[in-house]
Amino acid sequence: MSRIVARHGWTLGLMAILVLLFVFTKVIQPNFGLTGLDSLSRATLPFAFATAAMAIVVIAGGIDLSVASMMAVAGVTAAVLMEGAGTGMTLFTVVAVLVIGLGMGAINGALIVVTRVPDIVVTLAMLFVWEGVALLILKAPGGAATPWLREIIVGPFLVPWLPRSFVFLVVCLAVVWIPLRRSRLGLSIYAIGSDELAAYRSGIAIGRTRIIAYALCGLFAAMGGLTLTLSTGNGEPIPGPYLMASVAAVVLGGVVLGGGKGALLGPIIAVFILRLVRMDLTLISVDPNVTTIVEGTIMVVVVMIGGVLAMRGRRQ
């Protein structure tokens, strides 16, 4: 028991904070209920996918600054292809967007491996490239989303208190993450993030693993872009605030910048915490701008405490 607590201390702490926040929300807004839960979950979707995308490359010891731009490309592609599309075309679109996401991520990863330029710089350059691609596909917000597909993320699932969008999120993440975590490939991703040289000497193909990690990042980003289009009903070529938010959630979620540590659960809980804080502050009618300050302060204070704790741990 104590071993579980020690190993998952950070995640359990986040869970506790999330529960406290839900209680707090119920106290300040007694009629917070099913619709509130549903809209919270739906608003969190794109942020959660962006965070998952960022988390996987950070675990592999990298960073991807182009996450938001890739989401924009996926979003506008979906919106353009789905305009007036039938069932077959819609399904084709979903598959196509996911493949495009994998492709974009793989290009990012391949460029990092081939050029040997630091990942921050490559993905910074690719941020402009993907932004440009999104603008070429769609100059101004437009397109449409197939109505029946939009229903997937609206309303409850089976039981009234379980939002469909939340189930959607969990299923999408689990389908990719759980097999990965149990496979050799997942272990390799953790290994190259933890110590590249040691991983190399243990016979891991560093380049290939890195490209796959970035490709998975692209895949999650594409899911994020897709849900964004589904929830707004049109494509938006200008990237949203997902880059900063995803880095914040990843760090808050206990994934160490530099790689090798952390998982997907922590960051996803962190995303919900950050979104719920934002909603609570709106509920107690705090100026939305103050909300930005609070969010930034939470992020800074948490990483500072984390840093101090890490230093203490090293000294002992």
Partner: protein
Amino acid sequence: MTDQPAPLKRVLRFMGDNPIIPLIILLILLIGVLEYMRPGIVNERWMGNTIKFAIPLAMLAACQTLTMLTGGIDLSAAVAATISAFVMATQVPIMGVPLAICIGLIPAILIGLVNGFGVAFCRVHPLIMTLGTGLIGTGCLQVYQRFVIATGSVVPDGLAWLGTGRTWGLPNSLLLFVPFAVVVIWAQRRTGFGRLLYALGSNQTASRISGVRSWQVLLALYALSGLIAGVTGLLYVGLIKAPSLSLVNPLLLPSVAAAVIGGTSIFGGRGGYAGTIVGALILTVLGTLLTLMQMPEGARRILFGLIILAVTTIYIRLTDQSR
């Protein structure tokens, strides 16, 4: 034949030893392409304009260069610059020009100090720390804006003169930038502070064992970075003449790109400000070039990104940075 290295190899080695030369060649090449596309465009007036717009970028890139030397980065620089500019412009009607400029610089230095505190004492990754303070700064600025919405904003004539005016064909902003650049280059090469930056970036453990108090250096560095960002903001608002809540933000990523193209390693310990200045000029000329091509906005951004990537790749190969 076996003793003498091939001429091409010798040229490459020479360029590797003097990394600023290929950058200058690239700059001249870009200007050549520009002149070829629009004969007669390269004149005194055009040069003045290019320099005028490259200077704020180069100054903001100074924040990136100096912090990158220690292996850091300052993503809050653009926000600090915007805050300085906005606070100054809104305080001018109340406080008068000199006092408003001082008040404007305070938040920028404050942001720098918070960054330095987090990086030096809590060992937070600079990327995260400066991202967070940038977020907080943006929020504070938006809240501040609601309190001063009635006062209006004034860009002082002096700053407008410095930002847009020209004397004998040369932009006045050179009056600020030339001494600034000289001081920065001198400081990084000749002073103890500059060498400590390289030392911390090359090997933090080794420099700690050699008795460097890294917290002092980092605190001073990030505070200085904040101050430079603040001054940049004041200059930029003199150039644009319309203070807004996202005034300098579009320059943030290009400022990182300018430092990287200029040969400063993002991992620290390598590079310098002279390269960054050329990098900022290259980006500005590139911007003009891409605007002149009759291309959709999207294609221009794609080209911009690809060129940054290509230049950095070639540069890293040339100077043989193994990391």
